[in-house]
Amino acid sequence: MVFRMIRFLARRLGYYVVLVFLATSLTYFLASASFSPRSVYADRNPAPAAAVIDAKLDHIGVNDKTPLVVRYGHWLGDAVQGNLGQTIQDKSVNDAFWPRLGVSLRLLLVGSVIGIVVGVLVGVWNAIRQYRVSDRVSAVVSIVLISTPVFLTAVFLKIGATKLNQDTGTQIINFTGEATPGLSGSWLDLLADRGVHLLLPTISIALGLIAIYSRYQRATMLDVLGSDFLRTARAKGLTKRQATFKHGLRTALIPMTTLFAYGFLGILTGATFTEKIFGWNGLGAWFIDAVGNNDVNAVTAYTLFAAVVVLLAGFLADTMTAVLDPRVRRS
């Protein structure tokens, strides 16, 4: 049975690799067609000589005088060896990529874990206490949160924090960047400082997720709560809590896995706003800047990251489904 499950997952993984490859290539072509890297150099004042520009663009690999297919071939040859090329400023994409990856992952992981866990718990709580005051209040709050786009949530949080800091006269909540620059102290102070900086960006990502997941978890949980197998579980002597969590929640989580996977796409786009608004040097903010800079290689590197992360989330969801649902393993 375990073997079947592994084969099921392996086949999915193979399909995902093809998707990542095509998605990245597609972006490369799109970006090459849409951006004009030449203008970055040609519009400088004083404008460099044409030959100088050509040499520079050739070195970066984005010279529009070279046929697109040739450029793509060079880029792909480097990429499979782990070299993602040069940015438009002729610096290594890899060097820019890895430090930012850490920054982004911190935000994405903490945000989505909090969003999923709190969302599921709130959903279960609301389902168990259906129609009570807590359930109704959650319904209203979540529809407001779902209707607020991430950038607005982030701006509202920022306004709230600024007001709090102004009113109290001290910087209680620092929210610009990942850490206070030049702060010295024990490692505990530094860690606390980073924690405070992480606070608002994480909340702004997690709030929307909590709202959405809790609504769906409530619905799936309600479907399960009246079912025969829960009554059987109670009849054989489990306590209400045991039955609800061991048999009920497990079943109610299965349809949620798809949502977690798709939700990650949203988290990823949401993170570009959060990073930009709170001044984090993450990959999302890097991507937005790269579009403004006509930077083909950087944009493609970001797509690679996005595609891999989305598919990893999908793969995790598949695994979770296979673990939770015996029917998937058998078929």
Binding site: V20, S34, F151, Y216, D223, P255, G263, G266
Partner: protein, 342 residues
């Protein structure tokens, strides 16, 4: 009531329902058309009724506001820079003397237009692609589904951001086309799975044996049977598309100056929220209120059109399994709403 209607897919009442058999008229009771029935049901739902009223008011504000306002949306009043709301400028003015009321109304108008058009286009595209994939099967199916998977890996926000430098001078219609072109995938997936069950039914087979072409079968026999889903999804898409547009415009990838949309207004004025609140809150408030209203109407429509799904109040602990389609619809909503990236 004797019933001649075609038994609908997954319990949904569909098509020209409720027509009694000829010769067995129901005495003394006029049949309400399905349309009227639905409208009545939507208004019986308190949230959806309120949402509809709010949307109508917002539309009135967006389309009549610029007409009643004495100012143009880009007109500059050199006597009033950053003035708070007053009799001459109802919502105040911004740093270069533009009237905030007119700008908000105009921005709302643009956002609403884009949202509506995107919803229409992407739902139509989803219906055709999904139905074709489900009906033809085989390689058509594989091709469409592969395309759907591919676009699900690439967030549409990302693709449109990349294309945006190219379309900066092409106007907002191109933006509509782009958002629609990358926003139909999840809906198409659901339409496909619904088509798979509809195409096995007798009336489709009958039509095929009568020699009716596949395109006509899809349009005349299959799509009417998934119409309720398309209507519900289309409504939700309006709200989602407005959020996409504002998100793109927030970064300058969408609507371009001198034109305004809610997204560009929010981006311009976000830092003034504490010092000059009248610059920020009208646009931000309009956006959130509209999105809430659209969500309420979407939920209400779902309750009215689809008896198997009862969101909110009427839901009972039935022990009923949520079906696959519902899960996919939920997924659609989540993708579009979680990151506002549609």
């Amino acid at each position: 009531m004797t019933d001649t209607r075609i038994e609908p897919v997954d319990g949904t009442t569909v098509g020209r329902a409720d027509t009694p058999l000829p010769g067995t008229p129901e005495p003394g009771r006029k049949q309400r058309s399905r349309f009227v029935q639905t409208v009545v049901r939507v208004f019986m739902n308190r949230g959806a009724g309120l949402g509809t009223v709010v949307i109508v008011l917002l539309f009135a504000f967006a389309f009549i506001g610029p007409l009643v306002s004495p100012w143009g949306f880009s007109q500059i009043d050199y006597t009033a820079f950053t003035q708070p709301p007053s009799g001459t400028h109802w919502f105040g003015t911004n740093g270069i003397g533009q009237d905030v009321f007119t700008q908000t109304a105009r921005g709302m108008q643009k956002s609403l237009l884009i949202g509506l058009l995107v919803a229409v286009f992407s739902t139509a595209l989803a219906a055709l692609a999904g139905a074709a994939a489900g009906y033809f099967g085989g390689w058509t199916d594989r091709l469409v589904m592969f395309f759907v998977d591919l676009l699900l890996v690439l967030p549409s926000f990302l693709i449109i951001a990349i294309i945006s430098p190219r379309i900066q001078n092409s106007g907002w219609i191109v933006l509509v086309v782009l958002i629609a072109a990358f926003g139909w995938m999840v809906t198409a997936r659901v339409v496909r799975s619904m088509t798979l069950s509809v195409k096995e039914r007798e009336f489709v087979r009958a039509a095929r044996y009568m020699g009716i072409g596949p395109f006509r079968i899809i349009v005349r026999h299959i799509l009417p049977n998934v119409a309720s889903f398309l209507i519900i999804d289309g409504t939700i898409q309006v709200g989602a598309a407005v959020l996409s547009e504002t998100s793109l415009s927030y970064f300058g990838f969408g609507v371009q100056t001198p034109d305004v949309s809610l997204g560009t207004l929010i981006a311009q004025n976000q830092d003034s929220a504490l010092t000059y609140p009248w610059l920020f809150y009208p646009a931000a408030g309009a956006l959130v209120v509209f999105a809430i209203a659209a969500n309420l109407v979407g939920d209400g429509l779902r309750d009215a059109l689809d008896p198997t799904s009862a969101t909110g109040k009427r839901q009972k602990r039935t022990g009923r399994k949520r079906d696959q389609n519902q899960a996919a619809v939920d997924a659609a909503t989540i993708t579009t709403q979680a990151g506002a990236g549609a």
